[in-house]
């Protein structure tokens, strides 16, 4: 099983990020990818991205360009359910690269 890493952020790194992370973990698991994830506050993204070197970043709040080539996705579809299938696939494809 391939291992990949995701950093998932929301306002206080408690609720929304957890919801997003779990759904992404399940989606990847079904496709034989073991997703390791960490939730954080939006403000912690730059330092944690440096440390953890995730394959992908998903954030509920807007994120400034980190200039480090790590793809960043808006995680809101995971919470509203609107457009979630498309977003999951986009993230999955980005993780595979």
């Amino acid at each position: 099983m391939m291992k990949k890493k995701a950093l998932v952020a929301c306002g206080c790194g408690v609720a929304s990020s957890t919801i997003v992370a779990k759904k992404l973990e399940d989606y990847c698991g079904e496709r034989d990818i073991k997703l390791e994830w960490r939730i954080c506050k939006a403000a912690e993204i730059p330092s944690l991205a440096d440390m953890m070197k995730p394959d992908v970043i998903i954030s509920i709040t807007a994120v400034a360009d980190l200039g480090n080539q790590i793809p960043v996705f808006d995680g809101k579809p995971f919470l509203t359910g609107i457009g979630v299938a498309k977003r999951l696939e986009e993230i999955y494809q980005a993780i595979l690269k």
Binding site: V14, L79, V84
Partner: protein, 155 residues
Amino acid sequence: MPVRNTFDKQLIFNDLKIRDKNEILQYMATKMYEKGYVKGTYAQAVIEREKVYPTGLQTEAFGVAIPHSDSIHVNQAVIAVCIVEEPIVFHVMGGAEEEEVLVKFIFMLAIDDPKKHIEMLSKLSIIFQDEQKMQEIVKLKQDAIYEKLNCYINH
């Protein structure tokens, strides 16, 4: 593993006469405090956080909000629920300042450790994304709402 005691019968509100967002948040938080779930600092923390990081979401069925705080203000995990008669304006999560959503369902979350409650949070989002379930819940009385939510979150 079933998620037990996620909701509390006395923390389901569907007959409040309050129309102001902050007053509702204050009311729900105070009830949670009276039952020992959260600390005295929780209400203010939720209201302040909502200003900086709003939690309104437009789902298929209704506008939903999931106000919550940092875990340091929480004693024990619980979800309080308020269904308002007249939808209330919330700002959209992660949206621009002017983005608003009319909220019918408020799920106020007290979370002590998100890692422990992954399933619960994940299932809550599955419920509020489900148009049919939400349309059903909105018509029920207090006790029935509690039973239904417990049933949905454990399956």
